[in-house]
Symmetry: C2
Subunit: 345 residues, 2 copies
C-alpha cells in the first residue's frame, strides 16, 4: 500500500508538521509518498530518502519536483503533458492552519482525493475553541466555563488565576496563565497577536488529565490506551511538541474500568458522526468525578501513534472506511420550468 503524507503549509505549526511527517517513517510500514506544502502554498514531491528536517529549513526542497493539484489528484510535469502521482490514500499531517481549519480538507473534497483526516465541519468545530465548547455542550459533554472576547471588548476579570487563549490556534501558542491583574495586559497582547478573538477560562491547578485517541472503522470504535500525560503546571510549546517526535509507546494510565468506560463514552459523543474519516485525540480533565473536554486534536502530533499497539493496521483499516459523499443529482427541471413560463422553451 502507498500512502501520501501531506505536511508543512502556511501554519504556525509548519515545522512541527515536518517533525510529525518524518516520525511516520518509523511508524508506518508502507510505502510513503511525501508531499510538502511550503509557506507560499506550493506543493512539492519529496522522495522519502530526503525527508529530513534540515532539507526543509535550508530551502533545499525547492530542487524537488513541483506538483499541481487538480481534479482527481496531484500531477507532476512530465515530458509529454502531466503525470499523476500515485498513492492509495492521503494522510493529512498539516497541523494547525490549513490542515486543521478545514482548508485542505475542502481541497481534497473538491478535487476528489481520498484522505484520512478531519472533514471541513470537524475541522472548524475542533480548531475554534469557542465552537468546540458550543459543539460539546450541544452533545451534552462538559466543558470548562469561559468568557469569549473580541479585540476591542472591555475585559474585566473578577477572579484569578485565569488562562487566556486565542480561540483558533492549537497547541499552547499565544496561551498564558495569568495569576494576578498586573499580568493581564501582557497576556492579552500576546493572545491578540495571534487572533482577534480569545477565550478566558479559570485556571485550575492539579487537574487530572487523560488523553484518549481513536477512530471509527466500519461503525466500530477503535480506541488507544488512555494516557495520563506527565505535566508541569503548564506545558510550553517546546515540551508539548515532544509529542510530534514521539514514536515509543507510553504507559497506560492506571485508572478504574468505569473511568475508562466513561472516557470512551464521552469520546464517542464527540466523534459521532462529524469526525468520521479522522483519527483524533481528545484531551480530557477530571474534576470532582466529572469528565470535562479540554480539547479535540483533529490531527494529533505524530498521529498519537505512541498510544496504539497496532497503529499501522488501524491507519490502513481507517483508509478503507472513509465517509462517502452523498451523490448530488443535478437536474435542470427548475430552469426549464422558468424558461417555459417565460415562453422561451
Amino acid at each position: 500500500m502507498s500512502i501520501a503524507v501531506l505536511f508543512g503549509s502556511r501554519s504556525f505549526e509548519h515545522e512541527i508538521s515536518i517533525v510529525s511527517a518524518i516520525a511516520m517513517k518509523d511508524i508506518i510500514k508502507e510505502t510513503l509518498v511525501y508531499i510538502f506544502i511550503d509557506k507560499h502554498r506550493e506543493f512539492y514531491y519529496i522522495p522519502a530518502s530526503k525527508a529530513k528536517a534540515n532539507f526543509f529549513s535550508s530551502g533545499e526542497y525547492k530542487k524537488c519536483e513541483k506538483l499541481e493539484l487538480k481534479n482527481g489528484g496531484f500531477y507532476k510535469k512530465s515530458m509529454f503533458g502531466q503525470k499523476k502521482l500515485e498513492f492509495d490514500f492521503l494522510l493529512n499531517l498539516v497541523h494547525g492552519g490549513d490542515g486543521e481549519d478545514g482548508v485542505l480538507a475542502s481541497l481534497f473534497e473538491f478535487f476528489s482525493i481520498d484522505f484520512v483526516g478531519p472533514r471541513v465541519e470537524a475541522s472548524v468545530v475542533s480548531c475554534n475553541k469557542y465552537l468546540t465548547k458550543a459543539y460539546a455542550k450541544n452533545h451534552n459533554v462538559n466543558v470548562i466555563d469561559y468568557k469569549h472576547f473580541a479585540k476591542n471588548d472591555t475585559i474585566t476579570i473578577d477572579e484569578y488565576p485565569v488562562i487566556v487563549k486565542p480561540i483558533r490556534l492549537g497547541s499552547s501558542i499565544g496561551v498564558s496563565i495569568v495569576k494576578e491583574q498586573s499580568e493581564l495586559t501582557y497576556a492579552l497582547d500576546v493572545a491578540f497577536e495571534f487572533d482577534d478573538e480569545i477565550i478566558i477560562e479559570p485556571f485550575i491547578s492539579n487537574i487530572k488529565e487523560y488523553n484518549l485517541a481513536g477512530c471509527k472503522i466500519n461503525n466500530e470504535f477503535q480506541f488507544s490506551i488512555v494516557e495520563e500525560p506527565q505535566k508541569e503546571e503548564f506545558l510550553d510549546f517546546d515540551k508539548k511538541y515532544l509529542d510530534f517526535n514521539r514514536t515509543s509507546k507510553v504507559q497506560k494510565a492506571d485508572i478504574p474500568a468505569h473511568l475508562e468506560f466513561e472516557l470512551k463514552q464521552t469520546f464517542k459523543k464527540i466523534y459521532n458522526n462529524t469526525f468520521e474519516g479522522s483519527l483524533i485525540r481528545c484531551d480530557f480533565f477530571r474534576i470532582d468525578e466529572k469528565i470535562i473536554l479540554n480539547e479535540i486534536n483533529s490531527i494529533p502530533g505524530s498521529m498519537a501513534n505512541y498510544l496504539f499497539d497496532n497503529f499501522n493496521k488501524i491507519l490502513k483499516d481507517l483508509s478503507y472506511s472513509l465517509p462517502k459523499k452523498k451523490m448530488v443529482n443535478i437536474t435542470y427541471d427548475y430552469v426549464n420550468k422558468i424558461q417555459s413560463a417565460k415562453g422561451k422553451a
Copy 2:
C-alpha cells in the same frame, strides 16, 4: 470595476445558483466576469452575453474556455502558456453544497483570491442547522427547540405537528411538516435521503416572520429593510426559489422601531465577527415578543438585492473591506533546536 460571478457547482441548488447569477446582470452596474462550475467541478469562463439559463441546461457551456484554479487566480490556456483571468474580486454565488459549506471558501483562501462570501467557519456554522443552533445559543440568540437524530437512532415523537429537516441542506429540500404519527416514516425517509443527520422541531403555525440582510463595512453595519415575507403554511422549493430570480424591490415591513432595533441587534450578535466579508440574510421568527433565529442564509438568493436601495454600492464597498488573514511567520527554530540537540546541526 470588474466582478467575477461564480456559480453552479455540485449542489442540490446548482440550477438556482444559475438563476441567481443571471439576475446579477440587472442588478450590478459593473463589468461581470462569469465563472461556471459544472457538476464535474470543472471551471468555465462564460462570456456575459451567453449567461442565459438554457446555455447551461443544454450543455452548450462546454464549448466555452476551461479555467484552472491555481495560486493567485483562475487561468485560461493561451497560445504561450497561461493567461490570468482579470477581475477585482469574486462574488461567490454558489448556493448550497460547495458554495455555502466552506469548500469553495477554502479554495479561495488557499489560492489567495479576494472574494465576497462567507469564510470557512461562517459557512460551516450556517449550513449545518445543528451547528447554527449551537452557535446561536452560545451568542445568546434564541432558537426553536429541537431534537437531533442520526440515521439509526430510535425516533419517537410525543407531540405533533413537527417539522423534519436534514441538518445540512439549505432551502426546503428534504423538509416535511408532519401532522401525525402516520406521516412520520415517510418524512424521515425523505429527510434521510439527503443527509445522515436530521433535526426535528415543533411546527408552530402563524409565526410572524422577518427577514433582514446586511453586512459590515469598515466596522459599520449596513442593513437592508426588514421584510415580512409573504407565506403560505410552508414555502415549497419552487415558491421559495422565486427569491433567486428576484430583482424588484419589496415593501418594508410595517413594524415598530423597537422591533426593528431588536432584529438588528440580534443580527449583529450573529454576524460578529465570524461572517465578515459576507452579505447574509437572517430569517427570524417572533413568538411571544421573543426574537428567534430560524436560519442564516450566508449566500442569500440573488444576494437579497431586492431588500437594498443601493445594492451595487454596498457590494463594492464590501469588496474594499474584506477580512485580511493574519500573517503567519514561518521559522525553523524548533527544527534547528532538535537538530542541534541531536548533534546534527
